[in-house]
Symmetry: C2
Subunit: 132 residues, 2 copies
DNA sequence: CGTGGCAACGATAATGATTGTCAAAAACGC
DNA sequence: GCGTTTTTGACAATCATTATCGTTGCCACG
């Protein structure tokens, strides 16, 4: 029972989910992704999709967004910390980085004695190509 | 049918919810608030609590937070736009204002042509009195 | 003061995403 | 190849929130 093994096995399903995310643009729900895999003929259970997405999110390889609609959305993102500017009509998303915001959040938290700080930030708007 | 009437009626239940929120510190879920009202002998339906909270939130009189736990939390907040610094252990919350962040978000959105901009920001950490 | 319209109420059922369960299958190390 | 352990996946359970729809009470006007 050594503690060495990460014990993360490389399965067909995991590869399929990861690969699919690699090709996709924008955000998709777990159920979306599951449906797409099915269409491709990949035989993957919905439960597994959820589990895989959670794992990838924990590992920091994908990003999770929780829009007011209540459905979790996942996306393969560029590395590093960043935020999203989302069109509330068509869903088009732009990644934005805000170093100033990061440091501001850390500073404010520290001022109040909070440790181990993280934060979530999302910007919503109507993108220029969408009818109002 | 002039356009004057807000058509928002002043009911016992609405007052009760509003009053309760006025006394409470911190965030509480809709179901929490409903249970408290029941304990007090106020006869208010759960549906009405949800509706009232939504109404108050729309009117900007209370704040909504959607923590990863999946339960919406409501709180009577100071006026104006601000954000929250929440202890992920004990839930203690501090209101923080960040004018710089507000303008940054608006500016970034505008740069990408996004209109009608809003945003959500929450900071999580471990507060000084909580064991790590 | 009485009445009518209309919004709010509220009990219940419906919704729907996510999580738990557990036997069967697959992957990795040797 | 073989055994062990993780992973899978179909299905059921959970649970907050929303829709439904008949009833109730507020409000304005006569």
């Amino acid at each position: 029972m050594s503690e060495s093994g990460a014990a993360v096995r490389n399965t067909r399903q995991r590869s399929a989910v990861s690969a699919l995310l690699g090709e996709m643009e924008g955000f998709h729900s777990a159920q979306d992704l599951h449906a797409m895999l099915r269409q491709r003929g990949e035989r993957v259970g919905l439960t597994t999709v959820y589990r895989t997405l959670q794992g990838l999110a924990d590992a920091g390889e994908i990003d999770v967004m929780r829009p007011p609609g209540g459905e979790h959305l996942y996306r393969r993102c560029s590395e590093g910390h960043h935020h999203h500017l989302v069109c509330r009509v068509c869903g088009r998303t732009v990644e934005v980085a805000g170093p100033a915001v990061e440091s501001w959040a850390d500073r404010v938290a520290a001022q109040h004695g909070y440790a181990d700080v993280s934060h979530t930030l999302e910007i919503f708007g109507t993108c220029p190509t969408c009818p109002r």
